[in-house]
Point group: C2
Chain length 237, copies 2
């Protein structure tokens, strides 16, 4: 199927349409979390699995150089700053053992496979595709705002401090997007490259969506935890 | 944690224990299929997704040389023989469009991520780990027998011909295992290598298990099909 070249504005509109259909703010697990309908064990499972998504995208020096500012955002200037340190404050606050979180021993296999697929994608594909893969950040301020607001309202084991990971993301994400969307609109200068960019965004939505599918399956319904994965010790709120 | 060296027999016993806990014959999706409790659309989804598992492990000439006999089993001597051709007879028999199956457009993202993780594993790890990754075949005659028997008994849209994929696997799998188990027992000659081999089998069980998790989640309960994945057109048996 041949496709004609889209204007940069039209390309952006198609990217936004993919987000409206596929971004994981549409996922029922997010809705349960936002609406306070998960228990502490379910949120532990989410925080434990999401940790892997944070660390696994920074595995090599080559990637680190490409994404230095984002890495600075995540790794911070010393041991106790940066996004990953803030995420560990969340898992601490949820009562998860820090060494267990960092070991990634309790991950859902689907989390590992999805995140590793993302890392491989960024390593193996063109720079255009690697840059386009962060365009899910176009949609992240919305889901972060819903998540933070819903969780603070609903869960007494959640505080502004345990959610400190998300606050800087609200300003960092638009910076990431401004760069990436501008880059994509300039460099996707053939119909083929535009298709690549749109497919990349679909792929990246799949990476996020699959993580919530796996959490929902194991910890909400039908609650079938795969062998070896984290089992919450309590169901109390 | 240090580990002492296991005897080859003890190593084999530990490998078998992993299968007893983690192999996907314990998965509820397999139980539903075996017991005739899935409808045609659910089995279409299974056949569609499982196709990717067949083709994706044969992507490069280097891999093909390593695994030539298994590839011969799968690719056959011409277009219409071999395991993959037989799998397409199954998807044909289930009423799936062949071009749609081969396009892999309707795959569950979790299937793609899990199978790609397997391909990357075999490419990136040592030969010992690559060989050990096929040890799930130790447990496959059991699951294949259950699956074939249950499906023939329960589903009028399934025949011995549509299930022709599985029959040769009953004799091919033990040949694969005889080679791989012998290789592993000989070459895993340090405790560290034995741990690697056991971890490899756990990983490979995760690859299979995750595929059934994803099918169960999308097509059994809670029946949440991810955006873009195959949607069965009917629920009739």
């Amino acid at each position: 199927m041949t496709r004609s070249l889209l204007s940069p504005e039209r390309l952006e509109a198609e990217l936004r349409a993919i987000g409206a259909e596929r971004y994981h703010d549409q996922h029922p697990f997010h809705h349960l979390m936002r609406d306070g309908r998960l228990d502490r064990g379910q949120i532990q499972a989410w925080a434990l699995n999401r940790y892997y998504y944070l660390v696994a995208r920074l595995p090599t020096p080559a990637l680190r150089r490409e994404w230095r500012r984002r890495i600075l955002d995540h790794d911070g200037d010393d041991e106790n700053t940066g996004g990953i340190a803030r995420w560990l404050r969340l898992t601490d606050g949820l009562g998860l053992d820090r060494a267990y979180v960092i070991s990634t021993a309790g991950l859902l296999p689907a989390t590992r496979f999805a995140v590793d697929a993302y890392v491989n994608f960024v390593r193996d594909r063109s720079l255009l595709e690697a840059v386009a893969s962060c365009l899910t950040e176009m949609f992240s301020p919305q889901i972060i705002a819903e998540r933070v607001e819903g969780m603070l309202r609903s869960y007494d084991f959640i505080s502004r401090d345990t959610l400190a990971y998300f606050t800087p993301r609200l300003t960092q994400a638009p910076t990431d997007v401004a760069f990436a969307l501008g880059y994509v609109k300039e460099h996707a200068d053939t119909p083929e490259k535009q298709v690549l960019v749109l497919d990349t965004l679909r792929f990246k939505c799949d990476v996020l969506w699959t993580q919530l599918d796996a959490l929902y399956f194991a910890y909400v319904e039908p609650r079938l935890v795969p062998p070896g994965a984290f089992v919450p010790q309590q169901v109390a709120r």
